[in-house]
Structure formats: C-alpha cells, structure tokens
Assembly symmetry: C2
C-alpha cells in the first residue's frame, strides 16, 4: 500500500490508490474522514464505498475477552438505530458460523483493563467489507467507535468509505472524574457517561465518592458512614460493582476517590470520633472549603479508613486508589490542643508535615491491599515515597516538579470542566507541551490527564451538558497526535460528535429544551433560546462568589440552560471577523439579520416572562442585548452613537450569566 | 363556608366568598383551576392569592408514615425548581420547630399501601397559607400533587389561588401495567414512570416480568431461569425491592405478573423439563402468540413455580399476584401424547379445562403465600373459586360476566395504550358505565382499571411517549367523577400536564427531538417535525401485520417519532370544523397557512432525506401530504379538482404510519 502524506490540520491523511491531485475532492465527497474525533494516528484514504444493507453481519475471531461479543452487539444496534436497517443478527456470539460477513473483528488476546494495556487497532474498509484487527479487545472496541464515526450516506444508501486507519493513543491515562458526592448522581447518569467516554476513547473513570456534602458508598463494617452521611443517597456495594463491570465491558478502568483528611465532614456525622474537634457534625449544605478534618493522631481514624479501603479494594480491582488530600487548611488541627501536643512531641513542624504523617500511615494500608496511592498536588511532600502518583490540579509546575522528583503524574489543571470555560481553553492544554522542561524518562511518567466534573453547580439534569461535548476535546488532546490543534476544526467536529453522543442516552442536548420549557412555563421557548445561545454561565468560581447556592438550590434557571460555549455568540464572532477582514455584503447582511433578531427578542422574551416570573431576572440582560444590537445596527448604518455606557452595561453579569457578544460588537464598532 | 354549585364540564366548582356572577371572571383570572388533572371531587373557588416567596417552608404534623417527610421534601424541590426561588428548607423533618410555615400537612395515621386504603385529602389555600389534611399520608401526597398543579403566577410572582378542595378517588385500583419482558426496561425507566403515576394519582404498578422474549427476574433457587432466559437483562432481587420501596414511598402498590402457562418460552430455555414438548428452546425474538407452553401434567412445573412464587412473594408485599393465563392456544398440549393421556385419564375434556386444572394447582401455592390470584379473562372457567380476580382485556362483557359470577375484577380493555389509539378513545371507556347491567353489590367488586403498556414496539427511548400524556386521561377516568367527560377539555389539560411531567425526568417530549435529530442526521429537523405532527403510527395490531419486527429491530424511525395523538392533525381538524360551521375569514386564512406549510414541506424534507437515507421511506407520504394540501388549496380557491385518487393515496399507510388529516380535508372539499 503506497501512501503520500497530505498536510492537513485535522487528519494525518494519506492517499491509498488515489492520486495526490484528487485527494482533496475525495475528502470533500467523504466528509466522514474530517469528522473523526479523536483524530486517528494515521488515515489512509481510498476511493470506493462499502455498502451497508440489511444483510450486514459481524463476526468476531481470535481470542478476545468475553466483553467483545456484547460490544459487537451494541455496535450492531447503534448501526441499525441510525440507519433504520433491519439487520439480521440479534447478538454476536462466539464461534458463529457466518458466511460473507460485513465486518470481521480479529483480536489476538483478551485485554486487561489496566493502565498501559495495549489499545491500538487497525481498521480497514474495502469495497468488499470491513476488518478490524487489534491485539486486544480494548483496541478493537476503539476501532468500532471509529467505524461508527465513518458511517456515511449517499443517494444509494449507507456506506463506509474505503480507507485504512492505524490508530493508538498518545497517553495511556485518559480520564473523566465525576463527583458523585456534592450532588449525588444515580447509576444511569454514570452509565450513560461511561458510554460517552468509550465513544471518544477515554479509558478511566475517576469516581469522587466522599465530600463534606455526602458519603456516597455503603460500608458494611461502619454503616453509620453512609446511613448518616448521605441523606439516603449512596451507592450499595452491588451498585458499585455493577458500575465497575459496566465500565470494564467498555474497556474503562474505574478507581475511587475517598478524599481525606479534609473534605470529610460527611464522615464525621456518623463517626464524630474521627474528627479533630468534638462534634456533633452535620452534612454540609454549602459550597466551599470547610474546616472539619480527620484527626491524624487517633488510631480509630486509621482503623476506620482501613476498613473502608479494604471493603472498597474488593470492589474496585484497579491498582490505583485516590485519597484526595487537597485543600486541607488545618484550622481544626490548629485549634486542637491534643493535636498541637502530638506535633510537638513528634517534632512535626507544621500542618503540611502533619498531613504527610497522615498520608504515610495510609501507604502501608494501601500497600497491603495492593493499591498505589494517588493524591492531589498537596500530598507531594519532601518525605513521601515515589511510588505514589500525583494528580496535578494546581498547575503544570507542580506536575513538572513531581516528574523531576521521580513521581508519576496525571494532569487535571486546565481540564476543570466545571468552571464553564470554552472547549478551546481545555483543548490547547497539553500534559506534555513540546517545550516542557522534562527529560524522556521524566516524560514517560506523565501518564495523561483527567477532565474533572466537580458537581457543586450541576445536577442530574445538567451534568451531561457540562461534560459533553467539551470533554471530547480533552479526549482528543489525550489520544491524538500533539500536532492536532486546530480550534475551529475541533468546534466543527464537536457539533458532530454531540449528535452522535445522544444515541447513548446522554441528555446534553435534549435536557436543555426541557429546561427551557420549564423555565418559560410553556411550549414556546424560542425567545429564551435566542438569549441562552449568546450567554454563558459565570466562569471559574464567580458563580457562587456571593455564596448564594446550597446543595438543594434550584439549578433550573438561565445559567443552567446556558452552556460553556454559547453557540450563536461563537458564530457571530466568527462572522464579524470575516466581515471585518473581507468586507463582504453577504456577511454584512447576515450580521444585520442576527442583530435584528437580538433587537426584537427582548419584547418577545418579556412576554414569556409575564407568565414566568423565574425568567424575569434575565430581562435586564435581554434588554442589554437589545441595546447592544441596536448600537451595532446604527454603526452598520454609519450612524455614530455614544457606546461606552451600553457596552459597559452589556458586560455586567446578570442572573449569574454574561453576554458573550460584546467583544464582537466592539470590534464591529471599531471598524 | 357557603357554596353555590356551578355547572361546568371540567370542575365541580363552587363559590367561596365570591358572588355567583363573578365566578366566571375568577376562573378566567385563575386558569390553574381549569388545569387540574384528574379533576377533584369538589373545588371551592375563592378570591385572593397566597404568595410564595423565599421564606416558604413546609411542616408535617400528626402521625404519618415516614414516607411523608421525603415526599414533602420532593414537593419543595419541585416547587423551587419551577419557581427558581431559593427556598430555605433542605429536608422536611419530623418534629421540626418552624414558625409561620407556608404549608402545613396534617396526617392522622400512617397509610398502608394496600388496596382500598383511605386516599382522600382536603386542601385549603387562604391568603395566609396552605393546609393539607388527610387521614393518611397517601391522601396527603395526592394533595401535594394537586397543590403543585395550582401553582400560578402574576406580575408580583408565584402564588397559590385561594380555594378549598375536597377530593377522593372514584375507584381504588388505578393502575399502569409495564411490560418489562418483551423489551427490558432499566430501573430508571420504571422509577420515572412511578413518579409520573403519582403525579396523576395512580396507585398500582402491575409489572409484567416474564414473556416468550425474556425472563426478567433473578431467581436464586433456579438461576438458569434468568441466566439463560434474559440475555443478561434481568432485575436482581435487590433491584426489585428497590422498586417496591420507591413505589411505596409514593403510595403505589407493585404486584408482579408471571405469565403462565403460555407466553413462557423464556422459562424453557433454562428449564426445558417444564415444557409440554421436548426442547431445546431459545429466547423468542419475534412478536406474536407462540406455542411453547408449560406442561400442566408434570410435578416439576409446580415445584419450580412454587419456588419462583415463594421468592417473589417475599419481595412483593402486595396481596395480589398475577399469573397471566392469557392466549394459551394449547397447540403443544394437543401434540403431546402424555398430555392427551393425562386428560383422558382424568376426564379433562378440553384445553380450557386443562388450563383450569393448572390454575387450580396454583391456588394453594398462592394461598400458602398469602396471595390472591389475578389472571386475564381466560382464567375465568366455571369451576374456579371466586376469590380470584379477573383482569378483563377482551371486553366489558367478560367483566360483567365475572362480576355476576361473584368475582372481583379490573378493566384493561379500552386502556391498551400500546395500540396507539388517541387519548379520547381511552378517556371515554368507563369501568362502570351508567347503564352497566350490574347491581350495587356486583358493581362494588369492579375495583378499577389499568392502562397496559405492552412493549413489543416500545424501547427505552419511546416508552414514555407511549405512556404519557395519554395515561393521564385514563388516570382521570379512574379518579374523577363519571360526569367529567369533555374530550376537548381533556386534551387541553393533557398539554399542561405533559409539561409538568417532564420535571420528573420523563422523556415523552424531549426524546422526540433527539430521535428526530438522529433520523434527520443533523440539527435541522423542522421539515421532519411538520410531517411527524400529522401522522400517527399504525394502530391496533397493524404495525406488525407483515411480521417485519423482531425484538432487536430499530425502533428509531418515523412511527417511533410519531405519537398517538398527532398534534397538528387534531388542531387542523378542529379548525376545519370551526370554519365549516362559522365560515370565518380568519379561520380560512389559518387553514390556508397550514396547507401552504404542508405543500412546501415536501421539498424541504426531500433535502433532509438526501443526507439521511433512513428518512427516505417517508417521502411518498410527504408527497401525498403535499398533494392533499394542494388539492385543498385549490378547493379553497374555488377550483374543482379531481380528488379521489389523491385522497385514496393519502389514506394509504406508508412507512408504518398514516396521515391523520385526510378526513378533515375531505370535509373541507365537501363544503
């Protein structure tokens, strides 16, 4: 197979039986190649199409793990649900005697769902059929996801375009952290997000299970932990096992986090004897950093932790185990005389050293259970052994420091999807930027990264729209070649994957419509949609800077309908830039039409708000948008208007959101 | 409190401190009274409003069951999620010391979730606050649902209108049957539908758990039943208990159905020794009535049934237990020599008598477990004892016969929501029509009815849109006074409750948008929406008359997007009738606008179909709609056109759906 390299931002595309000259037109007629996310390592583009009809079957050969068969069956169902074809095969089974299969999957050996397992695959589509070859079923499942992304249609029906794809991940640790502790997330939320992760080739679920606001797992030896610390919202051990199995079936590791010694109020409700200061304690309802802290001087603390870790180690087979360790300010340690005495007696100089003492007492417990300790940056203290892993949330510097000191690490700084930053911000964060000051050995210990879905401000209704589709951009960063970094192209592909993710039950698109109907108090929601598509929720930690939110507050208002990448705002900004560069009449007309829609929207939204008081707090913003639009329209008409006050007002946050079109209007005015 | 009766189709409204003359305007300014579903027994309408602000709290007094507290907490969350108010109370707890509560709930005694338990409530709203009084928490929870339906808004914010409502159900058995056997339904589907049931005051979940296509419960004594009979899709016993508890918390009984001796193929996969003819057996993938049948002559059959029933009796505390018994045609009995010999030996004349023999052997098993047998019509044979209950599916006649013979009964004939009939068809079916030929004693044994959600043609994605909102019409029939029967008003209220049901996680509205995006292969779905809103899936048993469907077929196409009450078709029909009666120019213009939309839609839909082959089978229908619309437009313009061929074509089913606007166009043409 001869190939000629084509430079393209998106795909490392090579030609297969196609002249270099015609490749552009092939890519144009086969848009599926440009929609792949994450971008594969190598794509050889051919000419021709393998047609899918209602005789299409799948055969699995070789020696895969048993998970391969249901995975192939799920592939069939997704294929027939998209195409509407009545495919003949009910379940793909071992040793089936099929002639003329549409897809053959050949797997050398069972995959182990462990860090570093082989995940590569080779996918080839010819006019006669499709073949996926992989060393393990984990790789083969990645190949199935790529194949589904290649599904195409023409006037004759559905087909896969002829191609040859060789693919493997850049990083072995491509994770999503879900915080089920602050807002409890039922099993179906976790399951559908595992499906979403698999669709973009992520392979680690980091499950944050305890917090000040909730202790979310059943502990048989100390049942007061979940009985008193969860408001009845916890996972039974059977349910935890169900998730581990569900994830493993999709090639995804699951490892738990039990955040200690801080973030631990919920532990203390049932077991105040674990606390640094006397109780009683109540489940925390607010958001922030709280003082209740486990007492590192008491044996009972280690006894209970050992019991909990032991029960959990039996449920989570993964070799990694996260003990949190973040944001312990030690205020309660400072106030406890016996702790101060303990420190003095042992020559423990400060709270950092005391936390190190605490962490070091956990290491033998985890060792005994065959687990490697993972903790947030703060656990990195000079005297910690290097067989622990550092989870960097405070910045790349701490990651570099950890790697230099001999630790393995993963990155989450830059991947905090709860902060409602645009996908582009996350996309350009690289765990190993080209200029990072690490040698090859040190680099090899940077395993990858994790998107973190902290759940202060998300609920069952909104969590999917915070995770997706932005997390697909992070998944690509961790899977694809470093050179894949075209932001506009990433956004284009996010739009496509967002649709495909819906078929897995994810609610990122459909819940928004429901939430708008509730907020508008009726079926008519278009004026609200117009506003919601140009605003974004307050970012970073500004949403709750007034501490107005509690765990039971309504997350059903405008900031919850809005998403991190306001669609119309992004489109408008691009349109303005194009117009400013090219000065086209068509662009100008499009800008005008958009501005007129915004200008007229305020009246329509006010009518909705007349019946729905929950909407009223958004009206000043809608008014600001109208004024901004009218200002811009005047400017387009060549009229000079005083703009400073209008721009200033349009920049002010209202109802916990902010308009995202002010900069673009300002650019337009400056023309 | 003086009251004057007002005749109104919807509510038995009475006046409270309002002159009779002004009542009409009160109802106009308080539309919430006209939105209640099911309509309460007595509504006293007052003047004034109780304002809800962010100090609103709830207090529970008296001696309710523990379930009352989380129920009151859920009420608070639904209230703040709708209103956006940051209510101060996290959880409603026993013995809270609250001053100035917004709502006080007073309950005399704990409710028992059993047939016939007291469910009445009294709800009073004054300008100073709300009070719900009930003998049991079951009644109080109904009162909370009514109160949420009363939520109103004006320019000052949210409020409840002053009123006094006394309410109680007409029938004690108001059920929904969910078939989790043909298509397996995960726990979250069951849970959200239980919430939906509670919202319209239904109180029985009849859970159909075994079928030819699947044995869906874990059986510890005979694990091959679920291991080999379910494709891995079954409920563990813990999960069954979870559902029973979840339902009980909402005042809903759950009783299981194990359909025997027919509909039992899935039992035989793991236990062929239970079959009438030698195996092996495979899980059935088609839909229909199948021959595999339990062998009534073998002791092992009763041993296994006793073991299954015993395990299930420990999980389902309800006193009723459904053994199915329907549609056994006995073909395998006819073919089995040993069964024929057995019949001859015992003087069993025919298969009906043999099934009676079988059923009678189950009675002592159920007696021993403290359960009353329920079965479909067919179990009613002359020699059956009268302590069994007859579930009537074949018609009212069988129900009357059962009542006359001394049996208790419930009705499902007329409530088969899987048959995709309009809500009006179900709404007008009454378990006890005024002219029924039964005396008072016999009437007292007609306990109520059940909507039946058979799941051949529904999946996780579509089941909610088949159950809701139509089932609310059946719920009203079973709860409200017999005189409440205005079809147009019912449809108006269904539109309102459909929105409110969304807040419970039900997907009847939002999944449709998702399914249209998948079917259209993109975000643009409006042309598909236009078509989908005038078609309905083939009704009764016509959808699968060609036997094209299997359990794993794609249910993601036009008939799955369509619902039983095509919205635009219903609206258009009413518009045409109004125009024909009144001849208004405005109606004529509206008709013309609608016809023009349909006329133009075909081109737009064809463009969508160009990228989405799954849509193409719908194009002939879209074309027929265009031709029909153009025919009607010509007629409006006074042009005579040959119509027979166009009408005939428009009546033809295409792609498993049919146009619902042909009659209206024909009426228009006949003008």
């Amino acid at each position: 197979m001869k190939g000629k390299r084509l430079l393209k931002t998106v795909a490392v595309a090579l030609v297969m039986g196609v002249s270099y000259i015609s490749l552009g037109s092939v890519l144009e007629s086969e848009p599926a190649f440009s929609n792949l996310i994450p971008v594969p390592r190598e794509v050889l583009v051919g000419e021709g199409r393998f047609r899918i009809d209602d005789t299409f079957t799948v055969k699995v050969s070789g020696e895969p793990d048993e998970r391969m068969y249901p995975a192939a069956s799920r592939f069939l169902r997704r294929l027939d649900q998209r195409t509407g074809l009545f495919l003949p095969q009910d379940y793909v089974e071992k040793g089936e005697n099929l002639s003329e299969v549409g897809l053959e999957i050949v797997v050398e050996r069972p995959g182990q769902v462990n860090l570093g397992e082989e995940e590569s695959y080779h996918l080839s589509v010819t006019a006669a059929g499709v073949r996926i070859e992989a060393e393990t079923d984990l790789g083969a499942m990645h190949g199935l996801e790529t194949l589904l992304q290649l599904l195409s249609a023409d006037d004759r029906g559905y087909y896969f375009p002829v191609s040859s794809i060789s693919d493997m991940p850049r990083f072995p640790w491509r994770g999503l952290m879900i915080d089920s502790a602050r807002h409890f997330m039922p099993l179906d939320v976790i399951k559908r997000n595992l499906d979403g992760m698999a669709a973009v080739k992520m392979n680690v679920l980091h499950w944050h299970l305890t917090e000040d606001q909730g202790f979310r797992v059943e502990v048989k030896s100390y049942p007061k932990l979940h009985e008193m610390g969860s408001d009845g919202m916890f996972y039974t051990q059977d349910q935890l096992k169900e998730i581990v199995a569900y994830a493993s079936d999709r090639g995804i590791r699951v490892y738990p986090e039990f955040d200690v010694p801080g973030h631990a109020t919920a532990w203390l409700v049932g077991h105040p004897e674990m606390a640094s200061l006397p109780g009683p304690y109540e489940i925390e309802r607010g958001w922030g950093i709280f003082d209740p802290t486990l007492d590192p001087t008491k044996d009972v603390v280690y006894e209970i932790l050992e019991a909990v870790f032991t029960e959990m180690a039996a449920i989570f087979p993964d070799e990694y185990f996260h003990i949190g360790g973040d944001e312990n300010e030690g205020h309660h340690w400072d106030k406890a005389d016996h702790i101060q005495a303990f420190m003095k007696e042992r020559g423990i100089a400060d709270n950092h050293q005391l936390q190190s003492y605490f962490n070091k007492r956990l290491i033998p417990i985890l060792d005994e259970l065959g687990k490697k300790m993972v903790g947030w940056d703060e656990i990195l203290q000079p005297d910690m052994p290097t067989n622990i892993m550092i989870h960097s949330w405070r910045g790349q510097d701490s990651m570099v420091a950890a790697a230099k000191a001999g630790y393995s690490s993963i990155l989450s700084n830059g991947y905090y999807i709860d902060l409602m930053q645009p996908a582009s911000d996350h996309y350009l964060v690289d765990p190993l930027p080209a200029d990072i000051d690490l040698n090859e050995d040190q680099r090899s210990r940077v395993y990858g990264g994790e998107a973190t879905m902290w759940s202060e401000h998300v609920t069952v209704e909104t969590i999917d729209s915070r995770i997706w589709p932005r997390t697909a951009a992070i998944a690509e960063r961790l899977w694809s070649d470093q050179s894949v970094d075209d932001v506009e192209d990433m956004y284009r592909r996010l739009d496509t994957i967002a649709l495909q993710l819906e078929e897995l039950g994810l609610t990122h698109l459909k819940n928004r419509a429901m939430m708008m109907r509730r907020l508008a108090g009726g079926y008519e929601t278009e004026p609200l949609r117009v506003l919601a598509d140009v605003v974004e929720p307050l970012k970073i930690y500004r949403r709750n800077s007034d501490l107005s939110y509690r765990s039971y507050s309504p997350y059903t208002l405008l900031p919850d309908v809005a998403v991190a990448d306001a669609k119309d705002a992004r489109r408008f900004g691009a349109l303005v830039d194009q117009y400013l560069e090219m000065g086209g009449a068509e662009d100008k007309a499009a800008i005008r039409a958009q501005l007129e829609e915004w200008s007229e929207n305020h009246t329509a939204l006010s009518q909705l708000a007349a019946r729905s008081p929950a909407l009223r707090e958004a009206l000043p913003l809608s008014e600001a948008l109208r004024d901004l639009a009218e200002l811009a329209l005047s400017s387009l008409d060549g009229e000079a208007t005083e703009s400073a006050a209008i721009l200033e007002r349009a920049r002010e946050p209202v109802a916990k959101v902010e308009l995202q079109v002010v900069d673009a209007v300002e650019r337009l005015l400056a023309k």
